[in-house]
Assembly symmetry: C2
Homo-oligomer: 287 residues x 2
Amino acid sequence: MALAEETPEKHCWVCFATERDDHSAEWVSPCRCKGCTKWIHQACLQRWLDEKQKGNSGGSVSCPQCGTQYHIVFPKMGPVVYFLQQVDRALSRISPFAAVGVVVGTVYWSAVTYGAVTVMQVVGHKKGLYVMERADPLFLLMGLPTIPVVLVLGKMIRWEDYLVRLWQRYSYKRKLPPGSSRYLPRVPVDGPNSGDHLSVSRTLCGALIFPSIASLVGRLLFRRTSSNLQRTILGGIAFVLIKGVLKVYFKQQQYVSQANRQILNYPERSGGGQTDGSDDTEDSGNE
Amino acid sequence: MALAEETPEKHCWVCFATERDDHSAEWVSPCRCKGCTKWIHQACLQRWLDEKQKGNSGGSVSCPQCGTQYHIVFPKMGPVVYFLQQVDRALSRISPFAAVGVVVGTVYWSAVTYGAVTVMQVVGHKKGLYVMERADPLFLLMGLPTIPVVLVLGKMIRWEDYLVRLWQRYSYKRKLPPGSSRYLPRVPVDGPNSGDHLSVSRTLCGALIFPSIASLVGRLLFRRTSSNLQRTILGGIAFVLIKGVLKVYFKQQQYVSQANRQILNYPERSGGGQTDGSDDTEDSGNE
């Protein structure tokens, strides 16, 4: 076995053709590999790269054997193409921020509009327009969008939960009959605080509809008040108080209901009705 | 071993206490289980249920042994609590739809505003206001938001890609020298069509800024046109044409560049420079 040391015949590790098979083919040795994986046809390597890059023409590819990254060169492009490429890249880089700006602008503009509508609703249509026309535009552009923000933030203050907790603490101290025969009513693990999680959609909608409700309640309950602003404010306060009382009562009742839940005995006979949990000796050991 | 058939002593499968340990404890047999897992303290089962439900007080729990679902009863609540519960549930069910409505309303209102601003930009501020004030409000509320929609849809028509493909088909037919010595330039797998994917943010921003650009180009190129509308339309057409030509040229150049990429030989000596790919016999077999 005489090894030809000078120039061992090239053969392509993709198509297995040798130099003799195609004299015109272009050869390349793109990596550190020696021996039988040293040489490859330029065209075969191009096809193989296309497979590897899978549509990402800018991706770098390395030799699977020695790990050398292939050095791919592209023909030089003119200054016009270079300039267009830079513009294209800049636009691609800017556009996400611009899109965020569009979204923020949309939300902001809707908040401004909502604020203006709310002002007209609270102080009356004509007076609202008059007030806003005379106000500083900068003040309006800053002040109007804060109206929905303040409404949402205000809606997030859950003072009813605080009252429910206070009530529970008070009622526990009272309800401790000494030497009671039964087990104490249990303390539910999901108290009223964690019970209804803060729903984003409900908070948002509740906050945004609040001025309309306040105006409505004001018109229903405080017809004698002539000032639109006063009437709406009174209506809002009345609505918040009524709703708060109902909510505290409801949560307390839910808590009591949870605390006094019972697990029933399994009805052993299919014809038999539900047996009460306290009836604990029934059907025991009838097998 | 005499098995007491009548009443085998109860013992709780949670705390292992028997009836003798605590006579006052309440017992329950909540499932189909017999024998040593038949009985459990009501209080122990309550604690175990709390563990199983983990805060979801409405969830159903089954016996881990026999799979029977426990029958949990709550004390009856008054009609007021029932009513409040129904209201609470209805609000929870409605609020996601209402939130979607808020989002849709926000987008719609911004589209209306954008449409109005665009009309004023295209036909001039005063004339735009005059036209919109005299138009049917319903027509405005329907027509103005379609302006941004039409702009975005128009931006999504990629006529430049079509032109690039036409150009490539034409240039391939021309560039086929018979019996060329080299391999044909390869056809890049990611042609100009799939090259830049349709970016949502870029389409949106490009569409929304188009009227401003059209107005600007119109003012720069068609100063003599007195009509605001005509000038902006001419500016828009000019901008689209110029941009289209540049884009087609850029994409074609990118395609040519991709088609003519070369993978270079690996420089064998550390001091040696990059060897050209066509120089395919250099350094071969010098080991």
